[in-house]
């Protein structure tokens, strides 16, 4: 009963948070200069005032902002994200079309950064002053310091001109017809550089974090006890120490999911990856309000859900939290 009360409370909190984000986003987006009709006139090479007025009327842009907000909230609450002003397509279908690409990129980057970063952190914690540890430290610093967009551009130049072995744009080959194992391999081939670029900064973070956590845990009494019992170094390290050292990494992983989504905007733009980030970026430039708000709503929900999932995973890893 207590669990369900807690769950209900969390769901209500999450809903309130998402609604607050929607309202805030709506106000911020509409505060930017210009409107979508001006963008449409721009890509049209000009437009008559009559036609512009007609479009504003159709899109409800002639109404006061609070009325527009009320209309939008009403639609969102009924599950309707509206139509893209620019593409004249349902926002839900535009988002649905782009979600797989972004999830592939974000999850690929996060998981590879998590696995590799933790492994490197553990390896460097074994001999904190060894050559490998120093190398990983330098690598982490570089990965952490290099801006995502800069790293992306450097990789594009490197792999487009010097070593043209990896595709530098798009999710599939241009003439790909889609489907089959060849398509999967094609997508994976295209995924390498964007994933590496997006994941590098997190790989650096996770390796630093897991190294510090491991060093901390390896000095704890229970590790000394385990070693005194004669357990193999591998068992002590991976069974006893790592499980405890993972706690801060998992916490950061969940909390940073929003950051990863934000980083995806830059990576998708640099690599022309057809995901939500690129859609959001281009929609901002076009003042395509329904699309921007739809993407932001989706991202907010994902972040809120990921925070909840992190909380649950946290409890699984550390039973003490449940006990409390």
């Amino acid at each position: 009963m207590r669990f369900f009360r807690q769950l209900l409370s969390r769901v209500l909190q999450a809903l309130a948070l998402v609604l607050a984000v929607v309202v805030l986003n709506f106000i911020l987006v509409h505060a930017a200069p210009g409107d979508p009709v001006e963008t449409i006139a721009g890509v049209s090479g000009g437009m008559s005032p009559e036609l512009m007025a007609q479009l504003r009327l159709q899109y409800g842009l002639d109404k006061p902002l609070y009325v527009q907000l009320a209309v939008y909230m009403g639609k969102v609450l009924s599950g309707d994200l509206g139509y893209s002003y620019f593409f004249n397509l349902p926002v839900a279908s535009l988002i649905g079309e782009r979600v797989p690409a972004t999830l592939l990129l974000v999850l690929g980057a996060v998981l590879s950064a998590f696995v590799m970063g933790t492994t490197l952190g553990v390896l460097s914690a074994r001999k904190p002053n060894g050559v490998l540890s120093q190398f990983i430290t330098v690598l982490s610093m570089v990965g952490f310091a290099a801006p995502v967009f800069w790293m992306g551009i450097m990789l594009v130049i490197l792999f487009a001109s010097v070593f043209p072995i990896l595709p530098v744009a798009g999710m599939r080959s241009i003439d790909s017809s889609g489907g089959g194992i060849a398509d999967v391999l094609d997508v994976l081939h295209h995924l390498v550089l964007p994933t590496f670029t997006l994941g590098l900064v997190y790989l650096a973070q996770y390796s630093r974090l897991s190294r510090a956590a491991m060093l901390d845990v390896l000095g704890a009494d229970f590790i000394r006890t385990a070693r005194a019992k004669g357990l193999a170094d591998r068992v002590v390290l991976y069974k006893h120490a790592l499980r405890n050292a993972l706690l801060p990494v998992v916490t950061v992983l969940g909390l940073q999911f929003g950051n990863v989504m934000a980083g995806a905007i830059l990576v998708e733009t640099v690599f022309n990856w057809p995901g939500l980030g690129r859609l959001a970026f281009e929609s901002v430039l076009r003042r395509d309000y329904p699309t921007i708000l739809g993407v932001l709503l989706f991202a907010s929900i994902v972040v809120v859900v990921m925070n909840q999932v992190t909380d649950m995973v946290y409890r699984l890893i550390d039973p003490r939290i449940n006990a409390q």
């Binding site: 930017a32 200069p33 210009g34 409107d35 979508p36 001006e38 963008t39 449409i40 006139a41 721009g42 890509v43 049209s44 090479g45 000009g46 437009m47 008559s48 005032p49 009559e50 036609l51 512009m52 479009l55 159709q58 139509y83 893209s84 620019f86 593409f87 004249n88 397509l89 535009l94 079309e97 594009v156 487009a160 001109s161 043209p164 530098v168 744009a169 798009g170 080959s173 241009i174 003439d175 733009t269 640099v270 022309n272 057809p274 690129r278 859609l279 281009e282 901002v284 430039l285 076009r286 003042r287």
Partner: protein
Amino acid sequence: MPQALTQSPKSSRLRTAMLVGLACLASAHAFAQDIKRGGTLVLGSTQVARHLNGAVQSGAATALPSTQLFASPLRFDDKWNAQPYLAEKWSLAADGKSLTLNLRKGAVFHDGKPITSEDVAFSIMTIKANHPFSSMMGPVEKVETPDPLTAIIRMNVPHPAIVLAMSPALCPILPKHIYGDGQDVKNHPRNSVDVVGSGPFRLVEFKAGQRTVLERFDKFFLPGKPYLDKLILSINPDAASLMLGLERGDIHIVPFTSAPADLKRLAANPKLVISPKGYEGIGAINWLAFNLTRKPLSDLAVRKAIATAIDKNFISKALQGGYSPVADSPIHSSSPFHVTDTVRYPFDVKKAAAMLDAAGYKAGPNGERFKLTIDFYPGPDDQQKNPAEYIRTALKKVGITVEVRTSADFPSWAKKMATRDFDMSMDANFNWGDPIIGVHRTYLSTNIRPIVWTNTQSYNNPKVDVLLNSAGSVMDPTQRKAYYAAFQKIVTDELPVYFIDQVGYHTISQKKVGNVPSTIWGTASPFDEVYLK
């Protein structure tokens, strides 16, 4: 006596004609043999199409796919001559108030339904009501359809641009049985999904902002065409990536390239061909717009001094690598209405300073006369931002302090233009074929509106209004040219805008591409004759 000389002149002419005919046939046969059918051509573009229906959406982004999907009554060659397309014959009435189109027999839409004059009438009235260029079909009153293959466009005044308005990029013929279902055509779902036209290619896939895949329409009304099996329009907002795609051979054609660094670098690539042809219809001009409602720019002497202080050759040659020729007129040099007899402002810093002195704008103790701002259209840096930065330094030399203001994106810049929140602005303006469509709008005093690309300079000269209205309502090309000549002279003298250069658009293609579109509308034309070698 040689036998040939004994022949009558008539038989000699006949023999010559036969020989010429045979040579032509042989040449045509050889050409036909050279053309390789099939293959997939990839066109790369930075421009994102809102949807695929060019009847309700102008601009190159939509025109590229729209001209492949939808046929138009006429098409144009590279000399501005109308050519038969969906209409095999046409005739413009002497009074310029009606245009009769005789459609081809047997032409069908992609869904197999026949194309009739009803479709033409529906399309033209739809364009009149919804197309962003309201002046294009503005004078059209109605379209009569005496029989299924004849459409007569009736206008209330003579409309000299009506024939050009029948171009593929401007007049796609829509199937009435689909778009005439009562829904708003501007937001019609079939503008993006399951699009049905009668052009050389039919739609396979449209992924908004990503790619459009088209395939050969087997029942296209021109027998044997198109030559390609498939055409893919691949969108990448990053021009650098497109150039890399060209170099790697992933992309066959990239139109609308103007970056001098790219053009210079790729010119050395033996696999590529770079051509400036195909942009005559669009007629893009970079200009420096003045806000005439603000002092001191409302003073003609100041505008003339500013023009004199700017070295357009430097912009054209140094900043734009020589790819964008200097402009001296509001009408693009490729237009039949362009004249060279305009008022010029040779670069002369001393003279510019003296002009400002004479106008009463003496330099202060710090050498400054007055301050101005310059905005720029947030497009390619080499076309707008770099010239704006140069103008800042050039005007500094004559005591004008200029602040360059950057707009984050197009809506931010457009807002400044529409609300007259600017002193000067670098911008590109498109002529769109006939001056009626793309030129009049920025000079007519009746078009001073709070909208970008109208007369945002607030220029008002009744004589110019009369000249433009006259040129827009007479049919005689010579008379029209005379009106436009007078207009060009006045506008270059009064300088509501200072013309900097003609945007150096180029089409870059792989050498293996045959018949790269090079008509006045370039790649905004049907690709039915394009092939891969």
